[in-house]
Symmetry: C2
Subunit: 242 residues, 2 copies
């Protein structure tokens, strides 16, 4: 599949591996380490099996633990999945906030988009589970909606900062944020979750994908194209003092 | 709800009403008229009840017909729904093709967008059912995917016609078509299907919605904004010889 590629955004992550690494943190009890092992197994199982079809045996097989141990930590697959998804979303938001903000307005879109697309690629099962579980579990839906709202509000702030305020026919910044956010999420759904073969064929790799999304986003928000130099500076083969 | 408004695009339609009107066509047999009555009832029932929860009694109540008559035409709710959805998509595509192509490049986006948003608003249940049924019924999914592919191909052609071919860093027209298509579909899903209250509050009416979508679309595709006069010319309060 051409969408996969190796070196992508340095902050991109695979949530199962994050749970693996957390087990090595100093000072954990054996119980805390086992819980992280169960969480890693849930995350891996959800990459292979949609939430609706997930069975505890899939998780137990992954973690090489007994059913009994799973039920020691979680009442059912819903509780386990909700907790793993909330950990994932928290990690996503925290990591997103660490992305270096560039002085260049195109790079300021490109770098977060590259990160976001790559996280979607590597955690497609968790992203899909977010949608399914948010339809079924109200407490999760509320937290998920709050996160999306925060994301749109930050986007809208950055759009407002960069809009020319003299233009009285400018579309509302909040609405624009929903538009570009919807665009990137719908791209991800079609490429990574539904694996639309026609669309996937158009995408060379995640860098190329991020470039297309970022150029459209830049144009939609600023009403002009980034310069050729801005685009080239963000390409992975670009060598310079950065 | 502010999103509703009266006079919208002249070609916009409510599919249940289309089935009602088709019953008046000359030369129909009684059986053909009753079938259209059943189809209208299925369309109305799907506006009130999601497909998963739809029962034949909902349809029978709507059409004021007996269970027996429903089963005279359809084996089950799946067959009935698939046929109604295919009729809807065919009518949508045929009507879309009748939209007058304007000489103005902004109006050429605005008019189809206004039509498409209003059809989404008035047939939100059918649109939602398209997604659900395409996940469950392979034969429907194939036809639905073909339709979406045709739509993207037409969009890409029009994007290619209007791109400046001198620009070597231009994103691929097919990918751009998926981007703007994803944007409008995701807007519709959030406003009409999920009825996101925050987003709905930002939208004054369908004309305002179409204007925002069209400005973003125009910018994303052409890399510049439409002129103030182009935007004003498309507003419903604009009076001139058109």
């Amino acid at each position: 599949m051409p969408v996969a590629d190796l070196a992508c955004h340095p902050l991109s992550f695979d949530m199962a591996e994050v749970f693996d690494e957390q087990q090595d943190a100093p000072g954990l009890t054996k119980g805390q380490r086992t819980l992280l092992k169960v969480k890693a197994a849930v995350a891996r199982a959800l990459e292979q099996t949609p939430y609706q079809m997930l069975r505890i045996s899939d998780v137990a097989d992954q973690a090489q633990i007994s059913y009994g141990l799973f039920y020691h930590y979680y009442k059912d697959k819903e509780r386990a999945t909700v907790e793993v998804l909330l950990d994932f979303l928290e990690h996503l938001e925290k990591t997103y906030a660490q992305i270096h903000v560039s002085d260049d307005d195109y790079a300021s879109l490109y770098q977060p988009n590259l990160f976001y697309l790559d996280v979607n690629r590597r955690n497609a099962g968790l992203i899909r589970a977010c949608l399914t579980v948010s339809e079924e579990v109200e407490s999760f839906r509320e937290q998920y909606t709050l996160l999306i709202d925060r994301w749109h509000r930050r986007m809208a702030q950055s759009i407002r900062r960069n809009q020319k305020t003299t233009d009285e026919l400018l579309p509302d910044a909040e609405l624009v944020a929903y538009g570009v956010g919807g665009m990137i999420d719908q791209y991800c759904r079609q490429v990574y979750a539904q694996q639309n073969p026609f669309l996937s064929r158009l995408i060379e790799n995640t860098h190329h994908f991020a470039e297309t999304v970022s150029i459209m986003w830049y144009r939609a928000v600023y009403g002009r194209s980034p310069t050729k130099q801005q685009i080239l500076n963000c390409r992975p083969d670009h060598k310079s003092g950065e």
